[in-house]
Amino acid sequence: MTTTERHSYDVLVIGAGGAGLRAAIEARQQGLKTAIITKSLFGKAHTVMAEGGAAAAMGNVNSNDSWKVHFCDTMRGGKFLNNPRMAELHAKESPDRVWELETYGALFDRTPEGKINQRNFGGHEYPRLAHVGDRTGLELIRTLQQKIVSMQQEDLAEFGDAEARIKVFAECSIIELLKDGGAISGAFGYWRETGEYVLFDAPAVVLATGGIGKSYKITSNSWEYTGDGHALALRAGATLINMEFIQFHPTGMVWPPSVKGILVTESVRGDGGVLRNSEGKRFMFNYIPEVFKTQYATTEEEGDRWYTDPENNKRPPELLPRDEVARAINSEVKAGRGSPHGGVFLDVSTRMTPEQIIKRLPSMHHQFKELADVDITAEPMEVGPTCHYIMGGIEVDADTQQSRVTGLYAAGEVSGGMHGSNRLGGNSLSDLLVFGRRAGLHAAEYVRRLGTKRPAVSDTDVEAVRTWATAPLNATGKDTENPYDLHAELQQCMNELVGIIRKETEVSSALAQLDVLAERYTKVAVSGGRAFNPGWHLAMDLRNMLLVSRCVATAALERTESRGGHTREEHPAMDPTWRKINLVLAAAEGGKVDLDRKPVPTIRPDLLALFDKAELKKYLTTEELATAGEEASQ
């Protein structure tokens, strides 16, 4: 056996986005030896792209806000499929997590009293998003990165070694988790730079690898989003939930073709941008669904007044949850009322002065000017839906973030449950902080409880992964497949057949195509050597994309209703009996997946009491309402 570079840690955090960094900070603060592993450079994770803000009910702008209101908004946004305990913890703890960032050096925009300013966002009842212009994700990443540097400076002073207790392994990809019996024992990966393999011994792994958007052709996501964490967890024996729910953000750029999918932040609408079709009509007024009828303005005049007088007016329907807006845009375009390049118009130039726009939306102004020759201070943007976020992910315990596998934790976009069937804007950044911290904390407690008896890595397992990984480099012969072609075909398939509106026939044909792609994938071959070879990296990532795409399609076929980020053409309504069901996926033989139906955790009576009866009627079954009524009256 060849010797492999080998490291030993207490806690291994895979992912250096908001969730991973916050988890690592916590594990290190608990005194454990922590490693952070990331596919890209330190400070470049996907979180850097987040624009609008982090939701936290601090009540700085409207003192009526509280965790209870935030909790209700989150449940409504997720159409009551959320894990209620996660939604509760998130709403309660996010203010502390945001304030903590200030102690690390973050500089949020301020209110006149000098507090953290908060902005409006779709689905949030009050101005709730802490932000820095439209580059909040950058602030979050840089702040956490700098906090880690500061801990390394402390360790340098104390131990003479900056990396004594926390080290970042950048441009290092993990390709398999290792287990000893039922418990995590480590992870195996490779250095992108050299192509050399590296082995980590660790009793606890926190997965914080983000999402899956790169399986779709039109997406706001970066190349990192190949669903690695989802697939690693599945193969290690953990389960995924809610995989049918994918958020298509309503406003991605649609032109020029090469930037199709790049995000146009929701802040544009939060700050007053309106959506119009080719006839100049504010079409969103025609798309307010029954469940939201009482919360949104029904006339343009009222919607307009809300920007200056939110106490006495209702918000405009441009600020409905994302799934509603995305479907509405989709319908307008299908009905032939789209913009020249197949989107609709988003205009902010009529409500704000050019100076205000440049101040409040600097990166949007920059992005459109540089990439599309559009001056958003003077003309409307053309926008359309783009694959943005996966609500589904690793099934975890709400309090500890542990998966079904001992020693395996998950936080951030890779975990499931918190957002139900649809995530509200701004609820991800706060999710990363709240559950990143919890995952780090509980991973540390587990390791401490373990003492010195740690699960061991098996040499045979390591050898098997090594052989698998090296195979595409050695594959020869005529009958081989190019990873770039397979990837392009997969993206096309998912985009067209398991996209924003799903049909039974199309999803079934996607599953058939996935079978074919999986078969062809066994013949994948790459040219070139091992040092920084993107073709080889893609070949390895493809296995994860194929597996995760299969999970999405399998669950999408099973759920015969429409809810949040899952719309079935033949079943356009929300069905209260489906609300009680989570679709749980597990790995099966030969790259296949098993699907199981499990009950959604019930909502505690005290939490249920936060909603009024009339609203609950829209979501719950009659039996549930009856029990809820009994409990409330007791």
């Binding site: 792209m49 500089l107 400076q153 970066s222 990192e224 790049i262 770039y484 920084f532 080889w536």
Partner: protein, 249 residues
């Protein structure tokens, strides 16, 4: 409108390399990174290049395009004429790893050497109060996406390996300025800026400002004010005396 463009891309590693010619399709609205990706997908699958967001937000795709440091994802093909030969080389100031990927660890080491944000000890989370006007100065510098284009262009280290140990580069001198201007930071990094991080090497040529994709006024708003702060301190007898006394006690 599509056309065939002529690209020359540097390929090689630390032991050497050369420019390789590629003729490749270009479509309307594309950026240089799209073309590099097309070369990868159709002609050179192992062409090494760093990128993440393809939206100018992560600062990964830095390279030198016709000798000018730029983000490949924010450089539109329409700024070139179809006949033009477009040459792409890796950042010159850092050691090459492979093709367009360089070893930028210099920057992470410099980042580690800047003492972190230090708030007043007694200040509790949630009690931070700062005015918008006061945070704006540092906020400008926090727009930095760490693309290191300013670092590669600065003549102090561009062709002067020997200056690297004593010069942090514009990005990290700006980080010191950012902390110095943070309304609630209580640490003093002025001597350090001058003595350890080489603020004195900067002769305000403003090349860094010119290449910054975030349009941060690095020289005018960070480096020059920082120089002024260091100078006032050095020549102000009262400050000088104050420091002496503080050191003694």
């Amino acid at each position: 409108m599509s056309y065939e463009a002529h690209f020359r891309v540097w390929r090689g590693d630390i032991d050497g390399g050369a420019l390789h010619d590629f003729t490749v399709e270009v479509n309307e609205g594309e950026v240089v990174l799209d073309i590099i990706h097309r070369i990868q997908a159709t002609q050179a699958p192992d062409l090494a290049v760093r990128w993440n967001c393809k939206a100018g937000k992560c600062g990964s795709c830095s390279a030198e395009i016709n000798g000018w440091p730029r983000l490949m994802c924010m450089t539109r093909m329409s700024i070139f004429s179809p006949e033009e030969i477009i040459t792409i080389t890796p950042l010159r100031t850092f050691p090459v790893i492979r093709d367009l990927v360089t070893d930028v660890s210099f920057n992470f080491k410099k980042a580690q050497a800047v003492p972190s944000f230090t708030p007043p000890k007694e200040l509790q989370p949630g009690e931070y109060r700062m005015q918008q006007v006061d945070v704006e100065r540092s906020q400008e510098f926090r727009k930095c996406i760490e693309c290191f284009l300013c670092q590669t262009v600065c003549h102090v280290i561009r062709d002067h390996e020997e200056n690297k140990p004593s010069f942090a580069g514009p990005r990290f001198l700006m980080r010191i300025a950012e902390l110095d201007m943070h309304p609630l930071d209580v640490a003093d990094r002025k001597d350090l800026a001058q003595d350890e991080h080489g603020l004195g090497y900067c002769n305000i040529t403003k090349c860094c400002t010119e290449v910054c994709p975030e349009h941060i006024k690095i020289t005018d708003n960070a480096l020059i004010p920082m120089k002024e702060r260091v100078m006032t301190r050095k020549y102000d007898p009262l400050i000088w005396l104050g420091r002496k006394i503080a050191r003694r006690s």
